[in-house]
Assembly symmetry: C2
Homo-oligomer: 215 residues x 2
Amino acid sequence: MEEKEISQAVIGRLPRYFRYLGELKDKGVERISSQDLSELMKVTASQIRQDFNNFGGFGQQGYGYNVEYLYNEIGKILGLDRQHNFIIIGAGNLGRALGNYLNFEKRGFIFQGMFDTDRQLVGKEVRGVKVMPMEELEQFIRENDIDIAVLTIPKEEAVSVAERLVGTQVRAIWNFAHVDLNVPPSIQVENVHLSDSLMKLSYNINRYANEQEKA
Amino acid sequence: MEEKEISQAVIGRLPRYFRYLGELKDKGVERISSQDLSELMKVTASQIRQDFNNFGGFGQQGYGYNVEYLYNEIGKILGLDRQHNFIIIGAGNLGRALGNYLNFEKRGFIFQGMFDTDRQLVGKEVRGVKVMPMEELEQFIRENDIDIAVLTIPKEEAVSVAERLVGTQVRAIWNFAHVDLNVPPSIQVENVHLSDSLMKLSYNINRYANEQEKA
């Protein structure tokens, strides 16, 4: 497969393809045309073909896509064919919610450890995983082959914890703190800024109301 | 201000501007040039000018932007100058995490009610808000001027709950269920698909490792 720079917009759409293909596979569907996939996913067939062309195509023209093949190939592109070990830093409600989320495990993301500065939380368990004090962070990462750290802590703490992670083997930060982190390119950062998402929602409520007033 | 169709990509960037401007404002900064804002936010000055031009510009050339004015204007565009009342459907860990999130309140999003099908959870409280049974959903929405419903329930339930919400005055769904919802255009949907976000992270870990191998 030829390698080229793929835009983050295309990457952002891959998990959605993966999700729909997984559902088709579970229903026993073996083949699907780009037209049918287009109707199901409510994106144009041309968008689907363009997206897939970034990865060499996948398809047999006029014959449709082999669902299982496509599902597996996209899974490989997404790195889901290997196991990822993650820790959650911050044992509050959000951290516990993510620790309890079994779907991540199905995709190969294994919840291995949890950390908190709060001594009252240390020793408690979330789905069999013990909350540890922050002093043990580096050693635990080293001994347990951790490659992803999930940050569910306030933004002030997130900045300094991210700096500590730079010196470890962690290769990615899934950041729920409401701040942009400055880390070297060797650490991938994916932000989930919940307030930003809620503001976008609020914008769209407003926009729709304004359009209705004028119509 | 002239009205035109603004792309969702631009909209998606507004909350980030709002966040940085809020921090500048809190630090007492009165004016900022697009160049300085560019360096702070790590986006090009031309991107900033292009984004702001969608809303008529905001800026005085050569003089920089008035931070507080810009902050307020973007806040208005995002609909943050009015109060939004929201309910959370699903009183599990994630629902409770969102209910406890005080930052939403600061932005004018007020947590008013919580619902769950689980009788064991009904009557419990999250930050002074009682969990109610699903039978009371429509009446509560009507009587409490609810315009946003947050769905933190499994995907099978999310589809049918979204259908119930269509008949109410709810104008937006903030959807954490791992499924795309089919609702009429009068209801705005903002998805937070956590698994999708994690897969994107995994893709970027992979991509970086492949690049390093080749370099």
